[in-house]
Symmetry: C2
Subunit: 468 residues, 2 copies
């Protein structure tokens, strides 16, 4: 489960509103909320959706234990309401795109339906789970794209992750395309391959670097990665690593890699590669770490730095420099009526009604653009730009996929739990269908997301009602 | 406790190194590690140290349960080493500055002593706890400084916090100077005041805004904050709030506040204040939220926006735009000998030996500057710039405080557990002694941190040893 007490991993106002609805006798009325985000982080062209399975599991366990109801009693919530919560469990429906899906701004990628109380109560934890994991899966995907499919990218971020956020940062990184992690806790919890070898302190704890390397190789002959920059990378680190590589070879083993953790990685990796190659160790890989992100890795790639393995920490797990996805959860219908929130900021005006998403395809199967339709629309002729309706696209001749599926119905889970590996494979399959212009790390092409004429009409009618 | 299985909330290499030390028979040798950071986040002038109590509590519970040793067995760790871990507990010493202390780059503010295995093994979780909480306490302090002592600043960040990082983000925000939170989970866990009233969905769930406001006021007459921007702030929101304020007044209650969550907060707060004042509601406060941080708040302050309460979310809890403190944990002595790590980057060269910190004071009791000395030094005449020794300061006539204290000795906790309130009060007391030039949000004055001649000599001798 996500957390031991999910019902109180929430904002206080979810509880005051829930009680208000209960006392006003409104809590059983039907409501529906949309989850969507407004801005792609990292100035990128897409987001990888992650966190869904954690959300599903958490909702199954969202109940109020005695310690929680005692807290509510101390906070002066009414006995009547607390009795209601004692029997609370989520009995609503959830429709969502699959975990690992490629998503875009403004799309209602997840919809929650149920009674007003339950749909409101889960807002904060839903946002907390989906916003963060989608953020990190997106960052991981960008880093993997920069490093290239043939490279190995490893999560080294736990020491700089935002407290216990490290748990799900690693989960999300794997969904986004990472190959492994140093994080033992998450590896155990999510069945992810973990690994790691030595820190500078290992080298410092021996009288000399060579003894430090030899000792490590003695105990881990089939999994030795030597950190070569404690004293002097080229004068001491790499030559000592080569000596140990020879000694391992004589015993029938191979040195796996050397790791560079400071200095100019392009320069040192090239020099080290030459030294290793000249000694005949073409198969000893070069790993690099130290403040890496997709931009540094791109720069290393364009310089042809011979790095095989990238260890990425801080900037991956914190989503630097965009440490939050701005996902929101907005009421879209209540008591069977579509609902709207108006704002001074045009892009903050919501889309009313229960909606679904069609993803239109190009001839070759790649993604053309997405349309937001009302749930009961079967087919549309064209889609409109959400805030500039004169701009529209004809979609009559295009194939489409309906990308939202029911995942919870009346509180029951409908979808099997997937492994992280399977979710990551789905992400890859989908990302392969996104044309490369949208995957560009900087100034990507903007993916088309439109709304149907019906969605537009309902919004415009409601705007008039509230503004007069 | 910080987490249910703290022993495996770690990087894998801590375990491979620990086993290596154990198998090589080195694990009982004495070692000492320093925790310090290199760069102040947010381009600020100081950092607020936070997380210490969580670290202390966690170390008390850092043991290997059966499920953890089973994992290690599957990962092919040796039976001998696993037996050792089954009886493991941290029996070392920790010296640290107090939680809430004002700290600066390069200072070894926390030192861990013990055997090599235990001091190495706790690295990752120590960094995870201290880096994040110090980051957020620092951000919170900056926001409180910008808002001013008389303002109320509230943490609204849970929905955008980095997953479970939200738990300690709130704890750290309170240490840094926040007055309350919306986060119910952390409020319960750390005994913090929590609060909150309504979202836009509350207003949308009623036929009209006035009914929504009235219903809320009916159930919470002594704690009503009305969100006024769902449809039209000045045409509808504020006038409806004033009607409800009158109705509450007739029943002997007072409307507590209105909240603005979009649009130009300077403009709307001024207009709303006028409307409230003209209706006689001088005591109804104005709360504002929406992408706030210390810079936006400073701007609102300079425009004399009449805002009493600031709700700060995303940018507080994620430490935007510097989402990590770069704290590190470096070996400083081993087997009784001082140890050094060299680097191509001068500022990454470590300070060897067991050290302490003297904080020198000005005549008026404010902080003058800090010196890093060897543990056995009693008095020094001058301190030197760490990387430019020709720059030095005479400190002979200055009073000083020794700011590091023993907090754990042979595994036993020496210090009483403080409330968050007490830690925050200490932070305030110390911050008051930092001259305002260092608290400036942009281009702050740089606080003096020097090293003693003895520290410098040991470093320089060891540099020569390793570089020849």
């Amino acid at each position: 489960m996500y957390i031991d007490n999910p019902a109180t991993y929430t904002d206080y106002y979810e509880l005051t509103m829930a009680q208000g609805y209960y006392l006003a006798g409104m809590h059983k009325k039907r409501a529906s909320f949309d989850y969507f985000f407004r801005k792609i982080p990292f100035e990128g062209g897409y987001v990888v959706f992650a966190g869904l399975q954690e959300l599903i599991n958490t909702l199954q366990h969202l109940t109020f234990s005695q310690s929680e109801t005692e807290y509510l009693r101390r906070e002066k919530f009414s006995d009547e309401f607390i009795s209601y919560l004692e029997n609370f469990s989520f009995k609503g429906n959830i429709y969502s795109v699959r975990e690992g899906e490629i998503i875009f701004p403004g799309e209602p990628i997840l919809r929650v339906e149920g009674n007003l109380l339950e749909t409101q109560l889960i807002e904060t934890i839903l946002l907390n789970i989906l916003n963060f994991q989608s953020l990190i899966a997106t960052k991981a995907s960008r880093i993997k794209v920069a490093a290239g499919e043939q490279s190995v990218v490893l999560d080294f971020g736990l020491r700089r992750s935002q407290g216990l956020g490290g748990i799900h940062a690693t989960r999300a990184a794997m969904i986004g395309g990472f190959d492994g992690t140093s994080n033992v806790y998450s590896a155990r919890r999510f069945d992810i391959p973990a690994g790691g070898t030595m820190a500078h302190s290992w080298v410092q704890s021996f009288d000399d670097e060579l003894t430090a390397f030899r000792t490590y190789a003695k105990y881990y002959p089939d999994d030795t990665v030597l950190l070569v920059d404690t004293y002097d990378t080229l004068q001491s680190g790499v030559p000592n690593a080569i000596r140990v590589a020879k000694e391992l070879q004589e015993k029938g083993y191979s040195l796996k890699a050397i790791r560079l953790d400071s200095g100019d990685l392009a320069y040192f990796s090239r020099k080290a590669r030459n030294m290793l190659d000249q000694a005949g160790f073409h198969d000893v890989k070069i790993a690099a770490s130290n403040q890496l992100d997709e931009r540094v890795i791109t720069s290393l790639r364009t310089q042809d730095a011979p790095i095989d393995i990238f260890g990425v920490g801080t900037k991956l797990v914190t989503g630097h420099p965009s440490p939050a996805l701005d996902g929101v959860y907005k009421l879209s219908s209540f008591g069977g009526e579509p609902k709207l929130k108006i704002s001074e900021n045009i892009e903050k005006i919501t889309l009313p009604g229960k909606k679904k998403i069609f993803r239109y395809l190009n001839e070759d199967g790649t993604f053309y653009g997405d349309a937001i339709l009302l749930q009961d629309e079967k087919v549309i002729e064209r889609m409109h730009h959400p805030t500039f309706p004169a701009q529209k696209s004809d979609v009559r001749r295009r194939r489409h996929e309906e990308i939202m599926l029911p995942v919870i119905e009346k509180g029951n889970i409908l979808t099997p739990e997937l492994t992280i590996e399977a979710i990551s494979a789905y992400r890859k399959e989908r990302l392969d269908k996104l044309q490369r212009e949208f995957k560009r790390l900087e100034f990507p092409h903007i993916y088309k997301v439109g709304i149907s004429s019906s969605v537009m009409e309902i919004r415009d009618v409601l705007m008039k009602v509230h503004k007069t």
